[in-house]
């Protein structure tokens, strides 16, 4: 069931002299099965946008449709929507509250009206999917490392078996290895379950490597909505939005400008190294 945003705007303080258009006429179709990145710097509206996807915020103008129904309708079941569109916020500490990890992951499915048994099965399944260490299932949530907390928080939402999984800055505050571990896990989740994953990030490097579609937010508007390669052709515009392009891409472009025949659309370190090597040795021949 796709999520459709139809000319959605969100205006704070509409009656004052300084209304803030946190979202400005955003129209998007988010079909099932995609791996989408939403990028924008702080204040670009990306966090506001994702809160519209599960009805935590309602648009002040325009409509959000899930499964063909307007989520603003009186008889629309928002709790049901939140089951289908799982949203994990940036700070796992904001969501973990039970005495142990397992009980915490059960919270969501229990709220969905599952029996204790069903909820526990769903929790086990979710913890397994996020590769949570077996020996820590009954550990206190305060003893976990940053990456483990993140996994527990994601499992807590995954246990509701959503069709959409929205992750708001899931790698903030993690070290590089922890970052890639989480992103690899999310990517595997996408491949195995086929659920739509929406990754909110301010890091181009993270997004470029994993997603198939990038939505760039700038001052409340959708600036670009395309494949990463296509979006990164707008290097200068992205720079102006405070975003920039992946460093590998930037280096490839710099070399290209110097007349070295490097593929200017590379995204990762490995791609860049391969292309540079081919170009340089090719030139030598």
């Amino acid at each position: 069931m796709p999520l459709i945003l139809d000319h959605v705007s969100q205006v704070y303080n509409p009656d004052t002299e300084t209304p803030v258009r946190a979202l400005d006429d955003v129209s998007l179709v988010l079909p099932e099965g995609q791996f989408i990145g939403i990028i924008g710097h702080t204040g670009s509206g990306k966090s506001t946008l994702v809160q519209h996807l599960n009805g935590l915020m309602m648009p002040t103008e325009g409509n959000v449709y899930y499964n063909g129904k307007d989520i603003a309708d009186k008889d629309f079941n928002k709790k049901e929507l939140r089951k289908h569109v799982g949203l994990v916020f940036q700070y796992p500490e904001h969501q973990l509250f039970e005495t142990d990890v397992f009980a915490d992951v059960c919270f969501g499915p229990k709220n969905m009206g599952l029996t204790k048994k069903e909820a526990e099965l769903a929790a086990f399944d979710a913890l397994r999917k996020v590769d949570f260490p077996n020996d820590l299932y009954y550990a206190s949530v305060f003893e976990l490392s940053g990456g483990q907390k993140r996994r527990a928080a994601i499992a807590g939402v995954l246990a509701m078996k959503p069709d959409f999984l929205v992750l708001d800055e899931p790698t903030a505050g993690l070290d590089p290895v922890g970052r890639y571990e989480i992103l690899d896990m999310v990517s595997a989740l996408h491949k195995e379950s086929g659920m739509t994953i929406i990754l909110v990030s301010h890091s181009m490097e993270d997004v470029a490597k994993y997603v198939e579609r990038v939505i760039v937010m700038d001052r409340g508007k959708v600036a670009y909505d395309d494949t990463p390669r296509e979006v990164f052709t707008h290097g200068e515009e992205l720079e102006a939005m405070g975003l920039g392009i992946p460093e590998s891409t930037r280096i490839a472009r710099m070399l290209k400008d110097k007349g070295i025949n490097v593929d200017p659309d590379v995204l990762t370190v490995t791609e860049a190294a391969d292309s540079i090597y081919a170009a340089v040795t090719g030139n030598n021949k």
């Binding site: 939140r82 799982g86 916020f89 500490e93 904001h94 969501q95 973990l96 509250f97």
Partner: protein, 282 residues
């Protein structure tokens, strides 16, 4: 909703009220609240309202910003009105089932509503126009006499100032935690009061954890910046009375005298009234 509470917030702008010495504002609020209980006739109310509006106008804080603060305590206000409306004995106006509304009840309810509203608005002016640091400086100096009794005035003042700084941060955090739990299907609205209270546990636990962590961090940061209690500290902005403070005091005391004068008739007549009643009852 949670952001509507404006008590304890500072509204940044330039105004004569902002520039006043906090001691003037604190004493002013105290006297203003006392005067609210002095008068019991429309002339007194009018005087109070005019004075408050004049202060608000001079402070350049939008009046909507101040009335917004009332929303937060709407329940308290309504409760006070209802209790007074139904539980004041006197001449019956209407009566249904077990409830009776009396003329006196309406009078008392309106008086209480007026006093509470004015009280909240009056005291929020102080916090809106005074930075917490300034406010605590004012308290520290104003209550300095307690030091003779070894009262830890400086430390208490610092605690208050920090509490005030963290109120908006913790409120925003509460908002975020509630959203995170809503996204997991938490329900804060339906059910009876026990169920609602239970539903708050997933919010309160992360909130407390975070508050304690913040407190620990903050204590460390303060120590790292050589905070060691109030002794030996100097002030970046020491409190010195200026000419405008003298003028404010004059205005303030004129208002108090006027209030006493207006209120006096009522107080005196009530005094006689009560004597008279007692005499009759005897």
């Amino acid at each position: 909703m949670i952001r509507d509470i404006t008590i304890g917030q500072y509204y940044q702008t330039e105004s004569p009220v902002h520039r006043l010495d906090p001691r003037v504002k604190l004493l002013g609020t105290l006297l203003f609240i006392i005067t609210l209980f002095l008068y019991k006739n429309p002339a007194g109310y009018a005087l109070g309202i005019v004075f408050l509006l004049a202060v608000i106008k001079t402070s350049r804080v939008p009046i909507r910003f101040i009335t917004k603060g009332l929303k937060g305590i709407l329940v308290v206000l309504l409760l006070t009105v209802i209790i007074n409306l139904f539980l004041t004995p006197g001449t019956e106006l209407v009566s249904f089932w077990k409830f009776t509304i009396t003329y006196e009840g309406i009078g008392v309810a309106l008086t209480m509503l007026f006093r509470l509203t004015m009280l909240i608005m009056g005291s929020s002016i102080v916090t809106l126009t005074t930075t917490p640091n300034n406010l605590t400086d004012g308290l520290e100096k104003g209550l300095g006499f307690l030091k003779i009794f070894r009262g830890p005035v400086g430390d208490v003042a610092m605690m208050m100032s920090i509490a005030l700084r963290f109120i908006p941060i913790l409120m925003e955090e509460t908002d975020r935690i509630m959203k995170a739990q809503l996204a997991r299907g938490a329900d804060f609205e339906s059910g009876n009061i026990v169920k609602k209270a239970k539903a708050l546990v997933p919010v309160l636990v992360p909130l407390f954890v975070s508050a304690f962590r913040r407190a620990g961090d903050l204590a460390m940061a303060m120590e790292a910046r050589c905070y060691r209690g109030g002794d030996g500290r100097t002030k970046m902005k020491p409190l010195i009375y200026k000419k405008r403070d003298a003028i404010a005091y004059i205005i303030l005391f004129s208002f108090v005298i006027l209030s006493v004068w207006i209120g006096r008739w009522q107080v005196i007549s009530e005094f006689f009234n009560s004597l008279y009643l007692r005499f009759i009852l005897k």
